[in-house]
Subunit: 343 residues, 4 copies
């Protein structure tokens, strides 16, 4: 099985849910929520793609970087390369149902470990989903991260305890889920979190805590103040609020403001290895990969996830050689690949 | 009935007049005047859409805004959310005739009230149209606004009196109708208005007076000088003059110049709730909704108008939670959602 | 006959030569030279269209301009509006041959006069073409302008004499024809003109002399120095050299540099009345209309040319009312329609 | 045979490998590596095309340049115009196999000489390819340049000796091949080169040495320091690393930094004569032509290559007349064709 076969399979199995466009840019699937698309006109999804595309990198080959270092350590865990799997649920409504949520959770958690990295598992209106993710993390002896919806604090803390018992590496809340309509349908209120809310949640656990869904410097600073270990600069794949900024256009400012104080993960439109390099050069410590992992699971199950991640890793490796970036943790060397000059 | 069904119905019933494109951007219908399009090459319509699309907003979820205030008061009337229905006539020539002008007037005036807001009714070469609108306002016990074409002053004042007798909330003139060819066909001259013209008209009534069709700071100031209560920043849906600026690109300057002196309504390319938020953040007090209301009336009649407005309201509500905007009348809090940063 | 019918006829009669695209932007016909397109990839034609499209105008209706003045005087001739017909030849190779060059010359020269303006006639490798144009000018008692290819000076001067005898209003050379391959095929050398060349040509006649094909300030100044009466800012419809600037992007600078010293005509992508207004606002005294006139002749012959011009005139009239431009010769009032503001 | 027939033939013979799009912009063939496309999403190929397209030139025809000088001397060789043929291999995998690598090498080396210029021959995992190129150079009595992949220094030097023995004009390394996957498949390691590596290679030969694949000022300076005779500003046709800068957007800075110290060749998206002129105006001494030469060989073999080059030469000649550029070696006069002005 290779990445071509995985994509071919996924295309056949996802049918009208996703057609694996040559360029996965959010145009075909605009408005398909539930489904694979961005909310409303798909503007946020498309922006994420376009703004990352606008960033170009300087090829350099006159140097000594013939074997760049891709490994890094995040939350005390050694990763083979700086990419984690994004938390995703709802395989039936969003992906067409070829895999169940239980199968998907296992695929991503175990497939990620095979590729030397870790997956995040998600939370949704259906309580089984979160449990499937927790079960997968248990199977993996805790090698996974649990991301919880912005429910009432007590409900979040309850789930953090469940994640702790499963031995999870870290926990978090995707605060941009604050407006999710699907949660309301299940009568499980979600909403924004105040600084005090956040402090209460974070102080309830000794696990590293991640705030997912940050797009501004001021909220990034609030996360530092609240004691979070990491933020995910993300617009939730464009699926919560239409017409937001793109992660790629705000990341640099956020990294300059809080890069020394907190781990920064970037999420949005990562489609190949060079996209990881771009986000690192803008200041991220690592990225999340979303839609391509769905293709991996549906197109090749656990092995498909592993192969997809291995492909990204190989592409990142090649792009670091071709840009002279020696180490994913050496930001100074990374940032100079964004050297820009216009006529 | 829901918004999906309304749009499906409208699509079937409008046929070659409007195909409800996935993105209502003025391309398919370019030049369809009469019809649903923009004048000539559709440049003004398209510009309105594109410039509003270029404005992106900052998602924020670390705050206490879990139940933002959407209600506001305009012309002494409490509205459930800051959106009014734009004045539109000519259901046969422009929309294909599934509803008559009389039916349309009733749909929008009464449907708006059901949704907690108010509609504007329009004027055109066929004198019956204005009368249908006035009749609808009467049925609604005056809850409606009459917008009159820029006819000779005496003709305008005559119609203002008719609107007053109907108990209308406010009256106005869409001055950008000054070049309308269709009016000439009916031998009813229209034209530009001098400051003195405007003063004469405004002094003829005690009702709040609205000047619709302003695109420059200098003309916005003239409206203040003439004693108008409100302006509508608008290029008439791109249907009068091709190749104009877009409301979204001039609104901020206009709001800075006259925002303290006059009510500012923004009109153009409002297609979902987040578009309202954008215009508010740029300085508008409220927006007008046009084409989607046509779909509402044709696709679901009075109930369709109500459901369309309710959908916009729910989307606005969600987008305010997700951007931390607490109150549609709190401009300071609104404007910061346009925080922009580029790589 | 109206403009719609003319276009419909033209579309049927030009077949694979021109399909009258909804937007005549040089994409479909890219590379069709001979034919209706721009040279090579069509980049110059497309640029002319796009740069003119980027210019947007401020709608204004609070003023007293209810009957703007469109008439003007150029080369001592009163024109009903500031637009002339561009010199075009080669009806067979370029347009498909529905009209002959002789018929076309008559259509444009006489149709223009009916519309209150004048046409330029052109020159090409086939000597009959120029003669057809001259004959048409004679029929019109001299009401026409002869534009000659940049042949050897003696050959140009010979043709100037012919034009003088025909009573032409003015003569000129389209210097951007200096690289025309088609001329070589007919063994009639063309080439660039030095300042001395130009002076010699201009001093040979008492008629106003036009240099057509200027795109830079420095060459505009050379024209003033050589004693020319007018320049045409033009890239020859994109048909000579690919990848040039557009007239719309250089016109303002040229007008600022030489606007007081020479008549400036603008040529390129004029497709409706508002395009004339844009060029006037940038500093042109009048414009040339090209491709739409071809449609006029082929779609409705002499009457088609007249109706096409009348349509442009009516559109210009309306756009002046809607922008408050009172007089095509009042540049101060015109330039302020380009007031631009961005968010 | 003319250029039209050559392209028609090539289109038929390349089938799914290349469809000779009206605009060869890297969109249709995105990701086709092997094949004719750019790597991954084709971003680097597309960028090369788009950034060159953004550069527009000033048409000028009031001057004395009626017979511009196209000839130049590079590496001591007189060229009829400043364009060389880019090194390309892999006719089967990349082009569909209508010509063999041996045939292609002969076509380009001998066809170039017929057109008064010279070709570069390439290197790849299959050792026969390089030998075919060397053989062709021998047939041409040394009139050709050998470009070697960035293998281990000893392997490069071995091939330089082979080229010397064949009497090659110059040799070089395409350092951007450092990440080529295809080379690994053949178990022939490639990689980046340090300054010391480069010095060792260059000091091994008395032939002029070319470093191909430079995109930054800093690496251009390293080439000067290492003693190279020339650099090729290139992103390898977008085939090595996705998402790089385009040659056209970095060339000017590179030329300003090292233009007096080293020969600069520009490579990327040259599709017609005016593209050569653009690169010269940005500071290149000459350009490389790639994909159009493939069409030439496949569509018309050796004669096709000659005719393709002759066509570019004729187009360049015409574009120099129309821009007043008198001499391809007169940079001062060339650079002023990029005079830019925006509204």
């Amino acid at each position: 099985m290779d990445i071509k076969e995985i994509k071919k399979n996924a295309k056949e199995r996802m049918k009208e849910f996703c057609i694996l466009c040559p360029e996965c840019n959010g145009r075909w699937c605009a408005g398909k929520v539930p489904g694979m698309g961005g909310a409303s006109s798909g503007g946020s999804f498309q922006r994420s793609f376009e703004k990352l595309k606008e960033i170009k990198i300087a090829m350099r080959t006159l140097h000594k970087v013939s074997d760049p270092k891709l490994s890094c350590n995040i939350f005390g865990v050694d990763l083979s390369f700086p990419a984690l799997v994004a938390p995703i649920t709802g395989t039936k409504f969003n992906m067409g149902g070829y895999v169940s949520d239980e199968e998907y959770s296992n695929d991503v958690v175990l497939g990620s470990i095979e590729a030397g990295t870790i997956a995040m598992i998600g939370d949704t209106g259906d309580p089984n989903c979160f449990q499937f993710g927790i079960n997968a993390i248990k199977k993996a002896n805790g090698k996974g991260i649990a991301i919880i919806k912005p429910r009432e604090n007590s409900e979040i803390i309850k789930r953090i305890k469940i994640a702790e018992e499963a031995g999870a590496i870290a926990v978090g809340v995707d605060v941009d889920g604050a407006g999710l309509v699907t949660m309301k349908l299940f009568n499980q209120p979600v909403g924004p979190k105040s600084l005090d809310d956040l402090k209460e949640i974070i102080s309830s656990t000794k696990l590293p805590f991640i705030v997912k869904g940050i797009l501004t410097v001021d909220e990034a600073k609030l996360c530092v103040e609240a004691g979070a270990s990491a933020i995910v600069v993300s617009n939730h794949g464009g699926r919560c609020l239409n017409e937001t900024f793109a992660p790629a256009e705000v990341l640099k400012d956020i990294a300059q403001a809080v890069g020394n104080d907190i781990i920064i993960l970037a999420d949005g439109a990562v489609r190949e290895g060079v996209d990881i390099l771009k986000y690192l050069a803008l200041g991220a410590n690592a990225v999340l990969i979303g839609r391509p992992i769905i293709w991996g699971s549906i197109g090749g199950r656990q092995e498909g996830v592993k192969i997809t991640l291995d492909t990204f890793k190989a592409q990142l490796y090649q792009s670091m050689i071709l840009s002279g970036a020696d180490d994913v943790e050496n930001f100074k060397n990374l940032s100079c690949i964004l050297y820009t000059k216009k006529v």
